[in-house]
């Protein structure tokens, strides 16, 4: 009961924020389709993962994995795995050598899903068991 006044006191503040946020919405909406969307429109549901995981090289993807929490990787996995087949069907209609930017980003997001699949599906930890400080750099991987 004693908490009530406090909570009530917070309300006006939060309410005060609403107009500001609302003001932002039109701007963001305007930007999304043309400039900030990294992925093809059909895969807008994967967009929240794109900036962090659509990385160019295996080295970058692996580094991101090693510093990520299992929760974050599980999130990525749970969202992209059900979309894997649709994404591949979409990408297979395009010429691999000349993928447009958004398609390439989608491809890289799939690569990251591949990269985190062992931690999520088997180990429940970011690195392979008993690998300690061992490293194996993929210094030369095909560019997509």
């Amino acid at each position: 009961m004693t908490q009530l006044p406090e909570e009530t006191a917070l309300l006006p503040e939060e309410t005060a924020l609403v107009p500001e946020e609302t003001a932002l919405v039109p701007e963001e909406t305007a930007l999304l389709p043309e400039e900030t969307a990294l992925l093809p429109e059909e895969f807008a549901d994967l967009e929240p993962f794109a900036e962090r995981w659509a990385l160019e090289t295996e080295a970058e993807r692996y580094a991101e994995r090693l510093t990520s929490s299992m929760d974050d990787m599980q999130d990525l996995y749970d969202t992209t795995m059900p979309r894997m087949e649709a994404a591949l069907s979409y990408l297979d209609t395009l010429e691999l050598e000349a993928l447009p930017g958004e398609a390439r980003a989608l491809m890289r997001l799939l690569f990251s899903t591949v990269n985190i699949s062992f931690p999520v599906e088997v180990w429940k930890q970011p690195n392979v068991p008993d690998s300690g400080a061992a490293y194996l750099d993929l210094h030369d991987d095909p560019v997509v």
Binding site: M81, L88, L96, F118, A134, D137, P142
Partner: protein, 433 residues
């Protein structure tokens, strides 16, 4: 329990009686003096794989290789007449390293018309001849023809480039590869040009990593946590047995043939969900590429087994080619840096992907390879650390470890022959097997 037939002698090891069946010592992997002899007796006079012809596609294409075990760096280049040439990477003027960028210890690759020394600007043709000397008339009794790059023997087999650092190799590359080489000739290596190259410095003797990949006795145990649980238990209970082992005379080369009917697996629940969706995994993409694999060379699947999965060829001293039934291959190179350290290189070769699905499948195979190799590599460091204690000096090897036995035996014989020829005092006690 034996699932696959063994030779009439009762075991693979006894099929090669010179190997014996006794315990072996790993002193050859911890003695610094022995390592120095290995450099001389093995690495300075064997044919060493340094790459593939696809790395030097046109006139002027070159790459350098650091060969620490022979204390040198080598340039490999395609000359104007289309032939391959190799040279020690040293300028004839005052010994500067001729080809390098930014870091003198690192390897480089590229394309050029001639080699120019960074120090005083001497220039060499692709055939090694010196063609320009800065202020040439300042030198004494000087003729450019007397100062070409120092050549290194170079040859190719099935598109693999080998060098030999001996002034006069005792055998040609073809002779050295012998029966193993002819048995594998004709495989479409050159069509598998989509590659993934890995590299790591491993704190273990170079032979220990070859041992690790020359036996699969460890696979169901060390890699247990790579499989889905029920499958891991089954694999561990079954253990590992090869279909076939072959030791090619005293060449040092050997091969192990393995079943691996997991492409595609009989029961899809054996593998992880992403493997089921993508139809790919450790054994590579399950579906074959658009490359004609109907006529395999005779050296592959020597036992003619239906469940054949892969063949791994150990090419003495430090090169491995692993051919997978589904139509791709792997190479490993082990470059000694010190008695207890080497540079490991792994490369996966696939047919060029036809579409995104192919490419993602390759990514899964490549990433999976890395997870396994990381476990292998780190375990070797643990082995090396304890071997060094010398607490134990006699180790039993089982029949599935026959190729480990062969590698140490051949290396030792080469060292002993070199030692005797050059009147060098005994370094390791006992006779080589």
């Amino acid at each position: 329990m034996t699932h696959f037939p063994k030779p009439a002698e009762g075991s693979w090891t006894e099929h090669y009686p010179h190997l014996g069946t006794g315990t072996i010592s790993y002193e050859d992997s911890i003695s610094p003096e022995y390592f120095e002899l290995e450099k001389e007796a093995i690495f300075k006079r064997s044919w060493l794989n340094v790459g593939r012809v696809e790395q030097v596609p046109k006139v002027g294409s070159f790459f350098t290789r650091e060969v620490a075990a022979a204390d040198t760096s080598v340039i490999i280049v395609r000359d104007r007449d289309g032939s391959l040439r190799a040279f020690h990477n040293i300028c004839r003027h005052r010994g500067n390293k001729l080809v390098w960028t930014d870091y003198p210890s690192e390897e480089v690759a590229g394309s050029c018309r001639q080699f120019t020394c960074k120090y005083h600007g001497w220039r060499y043709n692709l055939d090694g001849n010196l063609n320009f000397v800065q202020q040439e008339d300042e030198f004494f009794d000087f003729d450019k023809a007397d100062y070409p790059l120092v050549p290194v023997h170079v040859d190719t087999w099935e598109g693999f480039i080998f060098i030999n650092l001996a002034p006069e190799p005792t055998e040609t590359l073809a002779e050295s590869l012998g029966e193993m080489g002819t048995g594998l000739a004709g495989y479409p290596f050159g069509e598998m040009t989509q590659t993934f190259g890995y590299r790591a410095v491993v704190n273990a003797n170079w032979k220990l990593f070859i041992d690790a990949f020359a036996e699969f006795y460890h696979a169901p145990i060390l890699h247990q946590r790579q499989s889905v649980d029920t499958e891991a238990t089954k694999l561990a209970a079954f253990g590992f047995e090869a279909l076939h082992y072959e030791i090619f005379g005293d060449s040092g080369h050997s091969m192990v043939s393995t079943w691996g009917g997991m492409s595609p697996p009989k029961d899809p629940m054996m593998v992880k969900p992403i493997e089921r969706i993508l139809r790919s995994g450790l054994f590579g993409p399950w579906d074959k590429p658009d490359i004609d694999l109907s006529q395999l060379p005779t050296g592959l699947n020597p036992s003619g087994h239906r469940a054949w999965g892969s063949d791994s060829f150990q090419i003495f001293p430090n090169f491995v080619i692993l051919v997978w039934e589904p139509g791709w291959y792997l190479t490993y190179n082990y470059w000694p840096l010190a008695v207890d350290q080497h540079l490991f290189e792994g490369r996966l070769y696939f047919a060029p992907p036809r579409n995104a699905t192919d490419r993602v499948r390759q990514e899964l195979a490549a990433v999976t390879f890395k997870e396994y190799a990381l476990q292998d590599g780190n375990t070797l460091e643990a082995t090396q650390r304890m071997l060094k204690s010398r607490v134990v000096s006699a180790f039993p090897l089982c029949d599935q470890e026959v190729l480990c036995r062969n590698l140490h035996s051949v290396a030792r014989s080469r060292v002993e022959a070199y030692r005797t020829e050059n009147d060098i005092p005994v370094v390791l006690e006992g006779q080589p097997r």
